[in-house]
Structure formats: structure tokens, C-alpha cells
């Protein structure tokens, strides 16, 4: 398994040089605490923890997996201790409200930490990751009493949380769920039903687990408008706020999965479990969506992490493994063969991973900055603008980065040849772990429908224009800079085509509603290449400027420029195929009768 090294130089590049985080933080409440020195110290400390504590548990966690015995889940060796250290380091409380015991730092800073945790050990990172979603929902929609009861302990990390949505017959379509909530006389509810695919649904690392459960009240209207959300603790807190009576929620089984073995994916049975309504009846789905954007950015990190870790593992191998001679003559004449990094095709695989990892980092940090403004911005208009931009970027980041993260992980594995397929090297684990990213938190197909249907077309294209305008301004600003021409010209052409294609799809969709679903996947991937092209051009601009100004880090900035060039020449052309496919119409998909799919 590759030993994870936090890519601190690149993190700094994106935060400071590309996104000017220092200035950004000055305008975000809580950000004034996040001085450059403080930010740097936090990241250094986090990197150490991820490299030294979490990374070594990644492979052992995969091999050992979680076990279920007598209704209780045991996590792999070392996880419990690592989680204790994670709490002791104050990591769960970094961005939470100071009044509830948090440190009040900007959310985007925790995104950096989440990247490092998730890259070092994704299965581990899911435990606190899910807590976060649960906590945010409670904070936004829970009563004061509920907040007092649950939040401080969840913020400190003593308790963790889950999200219980899926049932065996429904995942994407939650309107048809069957779990029921019966009102009790004391204002609580009895929750009954079976939930599946509950990540971190049970484990031995925290004193209590707080489930957020979607269920239907007896008088619920049909479909998605009849869903309520309840908080259902594993142990019902007593008067002093300590875990009390065991609630009637139990683990039916844990799933045997392709990967993320160290995270317990549970079937949870609620058998008249005591639950408490959050907010108003029947509004549960809306509440769940409040922080959907941020949660999905959290999942997008998995794509970036997969690309980064597999890049690190395969780069190390490519520098050491000797096979064949370079086509342009021996590069390691004293050895029996050259290191495989000399071969163009090996470079293609390494460069693809590098371009996706660094481009993905830029995309996620950029989105996280919008999230800071959207959640804490002082100015109403700026908040709204950032929220809408985030809404546009979220499905792209989630789906595009997890899809390309899988591609990168496969490339990394390919660099190792046969050894890539052997468990011991850890590369195949990255592929297995990465694969879930494109499925949970809304599959790629669902993200694509969200992007094209709900975000772009429903806003009459405004949602896209908000972004393409930024691209346009960037191109205009640097249009006269000859050294950036190779980036600005294709980017500018892409930007125009993006708008044209969207218009075409808009009119096609007016005539035939199937057009949206028929174009959505290709539209999303196309958009992903577009957003990443903007970010690579921006990074190239920074690197070019630094080189012109003179720098002691010439190699670093040259490499940035070269990676940008690789991206524009070798990856961006892929968008063309998506463009052709998306406007080819729905007929090729819809014409075939169901019974003719196979004979």
C-alpha cells in the first residue's frame, strides 16, 4: 500500500496562490481566526496525523474488515485508538459553532483536512464524515432542546451520527419508502422499518450513535411530500445527557462489499424505536437536502483522494521498476533496464492521474470557497450568488471527480502491471474503494439529471451563465497574453460551445421530455471537462506569472504549466465526443422496446 504523503506544496498552491484564501477568510466570520500561520499549523498537524496514524491502517482495515457479533459491530484493529486521537486533536469540532463547543473555523479549512483524512484512509474518514451530515441537519432544523441534547457531544466527536434513507426497495426514489412513525402520547414517535446501506450504522468507536431516519407518519401524503425526519439515538440520553436506555434499533447484518471494508455498511432494523421529530411533519426530504451540496462536495473528495493516492503509489513504482529501454536510447545504462517512467505510455498514465488529482483539488477547494460564502457570507446577494454557483458546481464535482477518480485509480493500478492486481501492493484496493464514490450520495446518473434538469434548464440557463461569465472574464483579462494563448483560445471556444449546446438541449427538451435524461450524462461529463479546463488555465496563469517574476521554485511552476498543457492537449479533446453524443437526440435510446434488449 502506498504510504500517503500529504501534498502540502500543492495544497498551499491552490489555497494561497490560486484562490487567495487569506483575503477570502478576511470576509468570512470565523475566518479572522484563520490567519495564514494558524492555517499552516493546522494543515501541518493534520498531515502528520493522516500520514502517521491513518495511512498505516488503510490496508489492514481493508483486510480485516468490520465484524458483527451478537448485534454489535467491531471495527478493524487500531481504528478505535485512531478515532480517540482524532477526537483528542479536536478535529471533529474544527468548523462547528463556538457556542456549541466548536472552534468556528471556516468550512473550507475542514475540506482540506477531509481531503488528507480521506486520501490516507477513506473508510476511516466516513465515520466522522457522516456525523457531519447528521449534525448539520440537526443544527439547521432541530429544536433548541434537540440541539442541546445532541450537538455538543457530536461536535466533540464523542458521539457519531448516521443518515438512514435507503430501504431495500428504494434508493434513488425515496418517495416510496415504507418505514413508519407512530406518534406516542409523550410527543415522541415509534419508528418501525428496515434501512439498508447505512454507512457507519454501528461501530465500537463512540459512546452513542445518533441516527437520522426518514419515515412516514400515519397521515402522510403519498410520495416525496410525505416524508418526515426523526432523530433516533442508539442509546436514549438520560436527564444528565448521558447515554441511557438502549433503543430498539438493531443491526440486522453488515454488507459484504467490493471495498471500503473498514467502514460498516449496516442493515438497521427499527422495531418501534423511540424517535423525535425534527422540524415539521412531512418536510423531511427538504431538510435532508439543506446540506446536500456540502455533503456531495464531501463525496467528491473521494474522487480526488483516489487520484492522489494512486498517483503517489504508481509514481513511486514507475521510478523504481526497471523494464525495457527508452525508445530514444538507454537512460539507465548501468542497470539491466530503464525505469518505466521513461516510457511515453507510462507517462500518459501518470500524467492523467496527476492532472485529475491537481485539477480535482482546485475544483473542490474552489467549490468549498463558494460554500463558505453561501453559509456564512455577510452580504445577502453574495450569499445567494455563491449558493447558486455552488449548486451548479456540486453535481459536477461529485460525479465528474468520482468518475475520473475511478479512472485514475485504474491507471495507477495499470502502471504496476500484474503487481497492480495483487492485494499486497494496495493499488487494487484503491480501485475497489473508489468505485463506491460514483454510486452513493446520488449516482452519477442522478447528479447528471440534477445538473441539466434542475440546475441548468430550470434556471433557463442562468445557472450555467453565472459560471461561464467568470470564464469569459478570465479569458478577456488574459486574452492578450501570448504565453497563455494555448490555454485561453481553446477555453474561450469551449465556453462559447457550452452555451450553444445548452441552448440546443433546452429547445430539444421543450419538445421531448426524454431529451434531458438522454443528454444528461454526457452534459455532465462535458461540463466537468469545462470546469477543470478553467481551473487548469487559471493555474497555468499563476505558474506563468511566477516564472516570469522569477522564483526559486522553477521546477514546481514549470511542472504546473506542463500538466496544464497535457490536460488541454490530451484530456480536454474528450469533451468533443460528449458534445456529439448529447445532441444526437433521445431516439437512439428510447426507440428500442423493452423486450428487444436481449434475445
Amino acid at each position: 500500500m502506498p504510504q500517503y504523503r500529504a501534498p502540502l506544496r500543492d495544497i498551499q498552491f491552490v489555497m494561497n496562490e490560486l484562490l487567495d484564501t487569506e483575503t477570502h477568510y478576511q470576509h468570512i466570520p470565523g475566518g479572522e481566526e484563520a490567519t495564514p500561520d494558524m492555517v499552516n499549523a493546522i494543515i501541518q498537524e493534520g498531515a502528520k496525523f493522516c500520514e502517521q496514524v491513518l495511512s498505516p491502517l488503510n490496508q489492514t482495515g481493508d483486510q480485516e474488515g468490520c465484524t458483527l457479533e451478537n448485534g454489535a459491530v467491531t471495527t478493524p484493529s487500531g481504528f478505535k485508538e485512531a478515532y480517540q486521537q482524532y477526537i483528542a486533536g479536536g478535529w471533529p469540532s474544527m468548523t462547528a459553532d463556538e457556542e456549541l463547543g466548536g472552534q468556528g473555523l471556516p468550512g473550507s479549512l475542514s475540506i482540506v483536512m477531509n481531503e488528507m483524512v480521506g486520501t490516507a484512509n477513506w473508510s476511516f474518514g466516513m465515520y466522522p464524515g457522516l456525523s457531519h451530515g447528521c449534525l448539520n441537519t440537526l443544527e439547521a432544523h432541530g429544536s433548541d432542546e434537540q440541539k442541546q441534547t445532541y450537538l455538543p457531544k457530536m461536535i466533540s466527536g464523542e458521539w457519531t451520527g448516521t443518515m438512514c434513507l435507503t430501504e431495500s426497495h428504494c434508493g434513488s426514489d425515496l418517495g416510496i419508502l415504507r418505514s413508519k412513525a407512530e406518534p406516542n402520547d409523550d410527543g415522541s414517535y415509534n419508528i418501525t422499518g428496515e434501512k439498508i446501506f447505512i454507512s457507519a450504522g454501528d461501530h465500537d468507536m463512540a459512546d452513542n450513535i445518533i441516527h437520522l431516519v426518514l419515515a412516514k407518519l400515519p397521515d402522510a401524503p403519498k410520495g416525496t411530500k410525505g416524508i418526515s425526519v426523526f432523530v433516533v439515538p442508539k442509546f436514549i440520553p438520560d436527564e444528565n445527557g448521558n447515554p441511557g436506555e438502549r433503543n430498539s434499533v438493531s443491526v440486522g447484518s453488515i454488507e459484504h462489499k467490493m471495498g471500503i471494508h473498514a467502514n460498516a455498511t449496516c442493515v438497521l432494523n427499527f422495531d418501534g424505536a423511540k424517535g423525535f421529530l425534527i422540524g415539521e411533519p412531512h418536510k423531511g426530504l427538504g431538510y435532508m437536502f439543506t446540506f446536500m451540496n456540502i455533503a456531495r462536495i464531501g463525496t467528491a473528495i473521494q474522487g480526488l483522494g483516489s487520484a492522489e493516492l494512486s498517483f503517489q503509489g504508481s509514481l513511486e513504482y514507475a521510478k523504481e521498476r526497471l523494464a525495457m529501454r527508452s525508445l530514444s536510447g538507454p537512460k539507465n545504462p548501468d542497470g539491466p533496464a530503464d525505469p518505466i517512467i521513461v516510457h511515453p505510455d507510462v507517462r500518459r498514465m501518470l500524467m492523467t492521474q496527476k492532472a485529475l488529482a491537481e485539477g480535482g483539488r482546485a475544483m473542490i477547494y474552489y467549490a468549498a470557497q463558494q460554500a463558505d460564502v453561501a453559509t456564512r457570507g455577510q452580504d445577502e446577494d453574495a450569499r445567494k450568488e455563491a449558493d447558486e454557483l455552488l449548486g451548479f458546481l456540486t453535481p459536477i464535482a461529485k460525479a465528474f471527480l468520482t468518475e475520473t477518480g475511478i479512472e485514475a485509480a485504474n491507471q495507477g493500478m495499470q502502471v504496476l502491471g500484474g503487481h497492480g492486481y495483487i492485494s499486497e501492493w494496495g493499488m487494487e484496493q484503491i480501485v475497489r474503494d473508489a468505485r463506491i464514490g460514483a454510486i452513493y450520495e446520488g449516482t452519477t446518473g442522478i447528479q447528471a439529471l440534477d445538473l441539466l434538469g434542475r440546475k441548468v434548464l430550470m434556471s433557463q440557463g442562468e445557472s450555467l451563465k453565472r459560471f461561464t461569465k467568470k470564464v469569459h472574464l478570465f479569458c478577456k483579462e488574459h486574452g492578450n497574453n501570448d504565453s497563455l494563448k494555448e490555454f485561453i483560445e481553446p477555453l474561450s471556444a469551449f465556453n462559447k460551445e457550452w452555451g450553444d449546446l445548452t441552448m440546443k438541449l433546452g429547445s430539444a427538451a421543450m419538445k421531448d421530455r426524454e431529451e434531458v435524461g438522454a443528454a444528461s450524462y454526457d452534459y455532465l461529463m462535458y461540463s466537468g471537462y469545462g470546469v477543470m479546463a478553467y481551473l487548469w488555465a487559471s493555474m497555468a496563469e499563476v505558474a506563468q506569472r511566477k516564472l516570469e517574476e522569477g522564483t526559486s521554485e522553477e521546477a514546481f511552476y514549470t511542472a504546473k504549466l506542463q500538466t496544464a498543457r497535457f490536460y488541454f492537449k490530451r484530456m480536454l479533446p474528450r469533451a468533443k465526443a460528449h458534445a456529439d453524443a448529447m445532441i444526437s437526440g433521445a431516439d437512439t435510446l428510447m426507440d428500442m422496446p423493452e423486450e428487444h434488449f436481449a434475445f
Binding site: 500543492d10 426497495h169 434508493g171 426514489d173 416510496i176 454488507e255 467490493m258 509514481l315 521510478k319 526497471l322 525495457m324 533496464a337 517512467i341 511515453p344 505510455d345 507510462v346 500518459r348 501518470l350 500524467m351 496527476k354 495499470q414 502491471g417 500484474g418 497492480g420 492486481y421 492485494s423 487494487e428 475497489r432 468505485r435 463506491i436 454510486i439 446518473g445 447528471a448 421530455r513 426524454e514 434531458v516 435524461g517 438522454a518 450524462y521 521546477a555 511542472a559 506542463q562 498543457r565 497535457f566 490530451r570 479533446p573 474528450r574 469533451a575 465526443a577 458534445a579 456529439d580 453524443a581 444526437s584 433521445a586 437512439t588 435510446l589 428500442m592 423486450e595 434488449f597 434475445f599
Partner: protein
Amino acid sequence: MAEYQAPLRDMRFLLNEIFDAPGQWASLPGLSENVDPETADAILEEAGKIAAGSLAPLNQSGDEEGCHWDNGTVTTPEGFKDAYQTYAEGGWVGLGGDPNYGGMGMPKSLVAQVEEMVQGANMAFGLCPMLTAGACLALHAHGSEELKQKYLPKMYEGTWSGAMDLTEPHAGTDLGIIRTKAKPNDDGSYSITGTKIFITWGEHDMAENIIHLVLAKLPDAPPGPKGISLFLVPKYEVNDDDSLGEHNALSCGSLEEKMGIHGSATCVMNYDGARGFLVGEPHKGLMAMFTMMNYERLGVGIQGVGAAEASYQNALAYARERLQSRSPTGAQEKDKVADPILVHPDVRRMLLKMKAHTEGSRAFITYVAQWLDQAKFAEDAEFQKKADAMVALLTPVAKAFLTDRALDTCVIGQQVFGGHGYIREWGQEQLVRDTRITQIYEGTNGIQAMDLMGRKVVANNGQFFEYFADDVADFITENQDDPALEGYIQPLASAIERLADVTEHVINSAGDNPTEVGAAAVDYLDLFGLTAEAYLWARMVKAAKPKADNDTSGFYTGKLKTARFFYDRLLPQTVALAEGIRNGSDSMMAFSEEEFG
């Protein structure tokens, strides 16, 4: 996991309606005595039964149980031994083997279909007969008459299985640097010493003996690939009366823990002065191994088709049953809580992509197999030469393009399942894990691309490519006025022109810059594969169109719609690939090693 069903209808369509296989068999004397349409059909039918009935049911349990190593012996998963017995007794191992040594002498175009069924039903199992057949091929082509008499009949029978031992811990792609040694003995045999890794089915309990073909170096071997010899090393020595003698000095040191194909044993093999016999001439082992390897490469492409088919069947069954959300145009099944997900355009996009590639890949394999039969049995020397060139050109494409698309197909199938695709019980994630190896072994897909671009295209200045381009051009000329092919001929002509232009571009730029070949290779192979599939889809349209009007089964109209989907939605990828290649190698080679990070 959906129950595997052999895709016999499509196989018959290809053999009888596209490629006129019966006509070809009748025209080739070496084949006409062994096979006729009735025999061929009966073989397909029987193979379908054994694949679905005996092999598919062991696929998932084999994955879960895996193989076990205990002090040098390997136990296969429950049921494998019996299934192998059934398989060998049916004569399937020697289906394509030389009748002079007990094989059945069937044409590759037919054998390929059988292999697809076996691999689609159970890839881990299928590897064993596949390796045996490959070892037989190398032995047949390069072994002495004595070795052939002694080993081939038992191997065709399946009583003994075969393995190929190439890779060592430090040498996989670059076999020139292997360290295993062969010392001559007085009796004409050799003592083999060394360690081989990644030896598929190197040790197991299904066959009475295991015949290893081992690459090693003689004491006087020149350095590099020109100093490698090939040896036959049996697990048990074979006595003069063909009974089994002593256990040879070789042993299985351990089994690898892998991502998939858990039902097959991937062995570390230790040779400690094991007695072996030279196959062919000294130092010419790599050439001999390539005979086997070319065969195996096509076999790995076939594994890809099998996996893609299984994946499509599995995902389609799920998409028909799973109820989720309503169709964008209104409820289709009002009495149910939701519509089956097959109504959703994006689910259809995924399924049709799977279908188009699976059927296109099957056509591609059959196309290559038919050229192989021509190469082997044609009597016209000029034509045979062309057939050899076509096989050489198309084999790396079959291996790499079809396995790349197969992995896509398995991953897309997983996506159709949503969360269930990630859970073992549904069998879809196993298909992904199993199929992933096909892009790696028998020469990684990067190596295939180098082989195609460098040795098959640039080295002969595009001569082999011309043969293929002419084949497509002839089809275009013959059919350009056929209204049935309207909407296909034009884009096909553009696609082949694009491929020809890029081919010329790479040949020209390779002269000045040797890295151009490596930089273009993978994208070029992809471009080639897509163009070849476009050609084959056009041929399928030509055959299907006249029958579509009175088609009550939907088979022919289904073919036409799948072809349309391929042309509208998948073929456009060729534009992007061509552009990437034209952009050259600078964006990759400009980096110094340090600048990677």
C-alpha cells in the same frame, strides 16, 4: 446474479448471416472434413448447456471460497474438480486441436464462440482450459515429434493441463532480463532452476498432471530477449509407457491474494533443478512463446466478450425488475409503485452502451477468428500471407480494445445496479474484479498498443493496415448506393479516413521522434477498435435490414437500433482520440522525472 444464458442467437447470426462461416468451412479442405453446419450448431448448443448448467453455477461460490494452498498442494473451490471432469470428458479442451494428436480440428470461428460461453459463465475456471489450449499450440508448432506424441493427446483430452511460466518477480513485460537457468544434462534433458510468479493454474487438483512451459536461459545464452529458451517441464515425469513417474523438482511456493479470479490459482512456482525438455531451438524460446501468446491474447479478448455479455445479462435483468421513479413522460406502469428503471433514458444509455459493445466485440472476435482460419487453412499463398498479416494486426486490438470495453461494460453494469452493484451478493462487483485482470495479463494493454502501433503499423510502413483499410473500402464501394445502409456508409467512410490519416501522421512523425509511437499508441488502438466496430456494425445492418420488415421476433429491428446507437453515441469518440494523437508527445515527455512530484 442473473442466470447465465448462452447468447446462441447472436452467435448464429454472426456465423451464418454475417460471415458465412459454413461457406468458408466448405471451401477449405483442412476444415471441410471436420465440420459442417449441423455439427457446428450441435457444438454451440452443447457448449451453451455446459456453460450455463455446469460452470456458471460455480462462478460466485468459486469467488467466495477461492483456492487454498497447503504445503505445496492447491485445492480448488468446491465443485471445480467435478466440473472439470465433465468438461474434459466432453472433449472441450481439444476442440480446436490437431486431429492427428487426438484434437477435434474445429475452426477458430466456432471455437471462439465456445470459449466465449465458458469465459462468460466462469472466467476463473475458463482460464485452465484456455492455458492448456495455448500450451498445446506452442508445443504443436515448435515441439519435437516425440514431445508432441507424448504430451498432446493427454492435454487435448484434458487429463493433463498446461501452464505458461514467463514472469519473474523483477521481469514481466521485459522478459529479456529473466534469471531462471537451464543446465544441460547428459541424457539430453535440462535441469531448470528459478522462481516464476503469477503462474495461472500452475498447481491444482483438477488434472492428473500439469505441463509447464517455462522460459529459461541456457549457460551460453546471449543477453536479452535473444537468449531465452523454452522448456517443457512436467509436474510428474512421464514414463516410457506414458504412466506417471516421479514428482519433478518443482513446487508451488504460495498463492497470490488478488483482486479477483479467486477461483483460479495464481502460483509462485519454484524450480529446483527440475527436469525439463527443450521445445524448439535454443535461444528461440521467445518466438515459440509468442505462438502461444498470440493465441492467448485473442483468448483474453474473448474473456472480455464473455464478461461483457454476463454483465449485460445481469444488469438488464435488474433494470427490468427494479422499480424506481416515474418515466419523464408519465407513468408507464400505473398499477405499480414506480416504473421499472429501464424506462429512464440514462439507464437505457448505459444498457445500450453495454449491448452495442458486447455485440460489436463478438463480431470483432469472429472476424479475427475467421482470418485465423484462413491463415491456417487457406491454400493460396498470397491470400494466406494477407490473412497472417490481418491476424497480426488485429490480435492486439482484440486483446486490448475488447478488454478495455469489457471493463467499461462491467463498471456500467454495476452503475445500473446502484448501491446493490457494490454488494457482493448481486455478482456484479465480481465481474468488475475478475475482468480487471484482462487488461493486465498476457501483455498489458499498453504493451498491446505498442505492439500494434510499433510492430504492426509503423514497422511495415502501414502495409498491414492497408489490408484492413481495403477490406473496409471494398465494403463501402459495394454498398454505397444501398438505401439500407443510408446513414452508415458516410460516417463509416469518414471514420476509416480519419483512421488512415492518423495512421499516416504517426508513421511520418515516428521517423523524427521515436517517442511519438509510445505517446500515440493507446489512443490509436482505441481509435482503431472503434473504427473496426463501426465497420462490423455496418455489416450487421446490411444483413439485418432486409429481414427487419417482416421481423416478428424483434431481433433484426433490435440490431438496427443498436447500430444506430453505436453510430450516434459511441463513434463520435474517434474525433477526440484523433485530436489527442495529433497533439503529439511533447505534453508527456517535457516533464523531467522530478517534476512529476
